[in-house]
C-alpha cells in the first residue's frame, strides 16, 4: 500500500516549483512512497511528552555592535546574477501586473 498518491506528489511538486512529466510523477510517487514507508517506524513510537530538537544546541540570539564592516561588492554580486539593471536584480514580468 502506498502512503502517497500521485495527486499528492503533483501538489508537492507545485509547492516546490518543480514541473514533473507523467513518467516522472509515476517514478517519484513510487520512490517517495518507499521512503515514507520506511519512516513509518517513527509513527508507531509513543513520543508523548518528548520535546522536539530542531538544532543540536540551544541557540541564542547572537548580537554584535552595529558598526559598518566589510560587505560584499554590489557590482561583483550583480555581475554573478542572471540579469541585473540599475544596480538591482532584474526579473521578468510578474503575473497580473499592469505594464
Amino acid at each position: 500500500m502506498s502512503r502517497l498518491s500521485r495527486d499528492e506528489v503533483a501538489h508537492v511538486a507545485h509547492l516546490a516549483r518543480l514541473r514533473l512529466s507523467d513518467e516522472e510523477l509515476t517514478t517519484f510517487t513510487e520512490q517517495l512512497g518507499q521512503v515514507l514507508e520506511h519512516a513509518a517506524d517513527l509513527q508507531s513510537l509513543d513520543l508523548t511528552g518528548v520535546p522536539p530538537t530542531a538544532h543540536p544546541f540551544e541557540l541564542r540570539n547572537v548580537v554584535r555592535p552595529d558598526v559598518v564592516g566589510e560587505s560584499l561588492d554590489p557590482a561583483e554580486v550583480l555581475d554573478a546574477a542572471p540579469d541585473a539593471e540599475d544596480g538591482r536584480f532584474a526579473v521578468p514580468r510578474i503575473l497580473g501586473e499592469d505594464l
Partner: protein, 470 residues
Amino acid sequence: MSAIDLAASVRRGEVTATDALATALRAIDARNDELNVFLHVDRDGAEARARAVDDAVASGRDPGPLAGVPVALKDNLCTRGVPTTASSRILEGWRPPYTATVVERLVAAGAVPVGKTNLDEFAMGSSTETSAFGPTRNPLDPERVPGGSSGGSAAAVAAGMAPLALGSDTGGSIRQPAALCGIVGVKPTYGLVSRYGLIAFASSLDQIGPFATSVADAALCLEVIAGHDPRDTTSLPEPAPALVDHLDDGVAGRRVGLVSELVEGADADVVAQVERAAAALEAAGAQVVRLSIPELRLGLSAYYLIAPAEASSNLARYDGVRYGRRVAADELGAMNEATRTLGFGDEVKRRIMLGTYALSAGYYDAYYGQALKVRTRMIEAFRRAYEQVDVLLGATAPSVAFRFGEKTANPLAMYLSDVFTIPTNLAGEAAVSVPFGTGEAGLPIGVQLLGPGRSEARLLAAARVLEVAS
C-alpha cells in the same frame, strides 16, 4: 609525502611550494580524465599562491603550519571568483563573490588550494553518482564508486592528487567516502568549524571536515580550520582545540563501547575488521565493552525526514533571480519553475519534494515533528552511553566500495549506505573514520570512532592507535 612532512620541508626551504604544486598537478593531469575527481583546477590561482609561500620563506617569514601543502576543496565551498557549482546545473558558471572561512584559514596557514572536487549534487547522495557532471571513479578500483557525497575530495587524496582535502558531512558524506577510498575522514562536532561559505544542504546537520592519508595530517588540518567565526552564528564560541599535541595520548584506561547497532547488517568482512579493531584497542590498554543503543535504529528514518525538510527550505533560494542559471520565461513564476525543473537533478528533486511533504500542513506533526522528537531521544541515548564509555566503536559503512549503478534505481538502498554515520549528525557530535584492514576484492574498510561533542582529541588519539595497529 604527508602534509606535515611537506609543510616542514617547505618551511625549512628544502622543498618549494611551487615544486609541491607541480607534483600535485602532474598527479591530477595523469588521472583526472579517467577518474573525474576535479570539476575545476585553479592552476593560475594555485601557482600565484605557491609563489607567495615561496617568497615568504625566501624572505624569512613563516608561511604557516600548512606551508605549500596542496589542498582539494569540495565544490560546495565558495571560492571568490573561482567557479563553484555544488555539482548542479543550476549553479553552472557561477563565480561566488566571497570565500568560505575554511578556505581563508587554509590559505592563511600557507596551504595552496588546487581546485574544486566533484560531489553528489548539493551533497545529496552516497556515491557521487548524482553529480550533474558525471560520477567520480574510485582510484583503487575505477569500476566502483568512491562513496559520497564528498567522493571527489576522498578520491583526490586517495589518488595522491593532494595530501589534504576538505569535504562536508551531513549524514556521513566525509566518513563514508573516506572509508571507501581507504583514507582518514573526520566529521567534527557541530559548530567546531565555521559553515560560512558552505552551500547549505541541511543547516542543523552540515559540518565541514578534513580528508587525509594519516590521522596526524587530519588533526593538523582540523586545527587550522576550526575555531569560532563571527560570520557563522552557530559556530562554537571557543578557539580551535589542540589536537596534534594529543595524538599520542593512546587509549590506556579508556572505555570503548562496541555498539551492536553500528555493525548490524554490515557485510561479514566489515564486521570482522570492527572486531579486530576492538581487539587492537584492547591490546593498547583500552577496556572494551559491548553495548546496544536501540535508538540508533531510528536514525535513518528521522534523518530522511529532517535533512530533506531543511533542504527544501535551503534550496528555495535557487529561483533564477540572484545567482546561477536562469531558464527564460515571460513571467516570473514560470521562470522560477522552468529554472528549477531544468536546473535540479532527480535526487535533489526527490529530497525537495520529500521535505516539502514532511513540512506540509496535515503531515508536519506525523513526519517532521515526530522526527525531531526522535532526535531528542537519540541525543539522550548517546548521553547515557557516554556515561558508561569514553568512545563508541562501529563500522563506517555497511560494505566496501560498491559498483556503479548498484543502488541508483532504489533510493532507499542508497540511503542505507549512511545508516551507521547518520546518528552522529543528528546528535551534533564528533566521529572519525580510519582505514582498518581490507575486505572483498582487497578493498579498504573503515572503522568508525564516535564521541560526544568536543571529543576530537580523544577520537583522533584512538584513531592513531588503530592506524599504527592496522
